[in-house]
C-alpha cells in the first residue's frame, strides 16, 4: 500500500548538532549529534580554532526535505563553520524543502559562518531559516551566496520559490534581518538594475560585533570589477557588504579576497582556490 506518509518517508530528513565550549584555554567539542542525511564533522586543523563542516548527504534539497543544522559556540569559544559542498535546491513537484540553521554564540565567543553557495535549480522550492543568537560581546561573521541556476550549463531559470530568512539577534533583540525572496515576481524583474541587474550570483557578507564599523577600513578599497559589483555599509555594530555578479566564480574570488582582508588568516579548506 502506498499512501502519502510512505511517499514522505522517501524525502530526506536530517539533523546535525554541534556544541563547542571553551575549556581550559581550548575550544572543546562537547556535543555532536547526527541523524538522517545531515552530518557534521571536525576536520583536523593546525590552528587553535576548530572548523565545523556540515554536510547534507542527500546531495541537495527537494520538496518535503527537512534538514536542520545547529551549532552552539560557548562563552569565550571560537569556531569557524562551513559546509562541505554547495547546497543545491532541486526541482520540486509540490512541497517545499525546508532547511533550518540555528547558530548561537555565548558571551565573548566568536563564530564565523562561511557556508558554500546555495545553487537554485529551475522549478525548485526551498525555504531556509537561519537564526543567529548572540550573547553580549559575541562576534559573528557570515557569508551567504545564492546562485540562480547552473550558469556553466547555460541553465536559465523559468520559475522557482526560494525564501531565505536570515535573522541575527543580540540578547534576544533583532539586530540584522535580511529576508531574501526569489520567486516569479522577482524573476520577472531580474534584469532590472534595482533587482539583480541581470546578475545570477549574489552574496551578503555581514559582520556583527562592537567594532564592526572599523572593518570597512580594514577592507580598504573594494575589489570591484566589471564582473563583480560590491557595496558596503557599516552602522551601529554592523558591517554589511553586498555582491552581485554575472558568474559564481569571480564572485567567489572577490568574496575570498574580502574575507582574507577581514579575517587575516586562511579560509577553511573547502574555500581555498
Amino acid at each position: 500500500m502506498l499512501d502519502s506518509s510512505q511517499i514522505r518517508m522517501q524525502r530526506a530528513a536530517g539533523r546535525a548538532e554541534v556544541a563547542i565550549a571553551a575549556r581550559g584555554g581550548r575550544n572543546a567539542l562537547c556535543r555532536l549529534h547526527q541523524s538522517g542525511s545531515a552530518k557534521a564533522f571536525l576536520p583536523k586543523v593546525h590552528t587553535p580554532v576548530p572548523e565545523v563542516v556540515f554536510l547534507n548527504t542527500s546531495g541537495g534539497v527537494t520538496g518535503g526535505d527537512r534538514i536542520g543544522y545547529r551549532l552552539e559556540v560557548g562563552a569565550g569559544a571560537q569556531v569557524i563553520a562551513t559546509t562541505q559542498t554547495a547546497e543545491r535546491a532541486y526541482q520540486s513537484s509540490a512541497d517545499v524543502g525546508e532547511v533550518t540553521v540555528e547558530l548561537s554564540v555565548g558571551e565573548g565567543g566568536v563564530l564565523e559562518w562561511l557556508p558554500q553557495e546555495t545553487i537554485l535549480f529551475d522549478h525548485s522550492a526551498m525555504t531556509r531559516r537561519t537564526t543567529v543568537d548572540l550573547a553580549a560581546g559575541a562576534r559573528f561573521l557570515m557569508v551567504e551566496t545564492v546562485v540562480l541556476g547552473r550558469a556553466a550549463m547555460g541553465e536559465v531559470i523559468e520559475d522557482l520559490a526560494f525564501f531565505d530568512l536570515r535573522q541575527i539577534r543580540r540578547e534576544g533583540r533583532p539586530v540584522l534581518v535580511e529576508p531574501l525572496q526569489i520567486d516569479a515576481a522577482a524573476l520577472g524583474l531580474r534584469d532590472h538594475p534595482a533587482v539583480f541587474g541581470g546578475a545570477v550570483a549574489m552574496s551578503t557578507l555581514a559582520y556583527v560585533a562592537e567594532e564592526a564599523e572599523d572593518v570597512l577600513a580594514r577592507i580598504g578599497s573594494l575589489p570591484e570589477s566589471d564582473e563583480v559589483a560590491i557595496a558596503a555599509s557599516a552602522w551601529e555594530g554592523r558591517c554589511v557588504l553586498r555582491f552581485l555578479a554575472g558568474d559564481a566564480w569571480p564572485l567567489r574570488r572577490a568574496l575570498a579576497d574580502v574575507l582574507n582582508r577581514i579575517r587575516g588568516r586562511a579560509l577553511p579548506r573547502v574555500w581555498q582556490m
Binding site: I168, P179, Q181, A186, V195
Partner: protein
Amino acid sequence: MNADLLKLTQWLSPAFPVGGFAYSHGLEQAIDAGHLRDADSLRSWLLALLRLGAGRVDAALIGQAMAGRDEAELSDLARALAASRERLEETCAQGAAFARTVSALLPHPVAEAPLPVAVGCAARQLSLPAAQVAALYLHAFTANLVSAGVRFIPLGQTEGQQVLAALHGEIDAVAQDAVTRDPLSFGSAVPGADMAAMWHETMDVRLFKS
C-alpha cells in the same frame, strides 16, 4: 470616517514636517549611475521598490502596528531590516519627527519609532482600514521619490505625475496584499537598490541624506 481620512492625509502630506524631501532611498545614486534617465525607468525602479523592496515590508509593518503588536518589538524589527546606514537613518529620523508632530495632534502620544511603525501606531487612533493607511503611506513614499526624480533626472512636472498615477494600481495591490501579513513571511529582492543606497554614502556630491 472622513475626519479620520483628513487626519491621515495631513500626516502623510509633504507639508507634514518629517523631512522626507531630504531622503532619496538610494535614488540619487541610481540617477547618478545612469539607471534612471526618463519617466519609464523611474516608474520601473519605483515599481521594483514597491513590489519587491521596502514597499511590501513597510505595509506589513503598518498592518502589524495597527493590529496592536508590541511597538518596541516592531521598532527593533524595522531597524534590523534596514539595508544600510543611511536607510536606517531615513526611516528612524522621519519616524521620530513624525511621532513628535503627530503626538501634538492626538489624544495619546505616539512613541518615536521607524516611520512605518510610528505611522501604524498613530493610525490606531483612527477608524480606518489598515489597507487604506498602508496604501496612503506607500503613496506618500512613492510621491516623495517621484519628486526627487523630477528634480534630479530631471523630468517635467506632468511626466512625474504620470509616473505616480501609473503606480496607483501597484500601490493598492501591495498594500492590500502585505498589510495582513507578518513582515517576516516574505522577503526582499532588490539588492540593486540596496547597493545603490550603500554607494550613496560615498558619493562625492550629495544633495540627499540617502
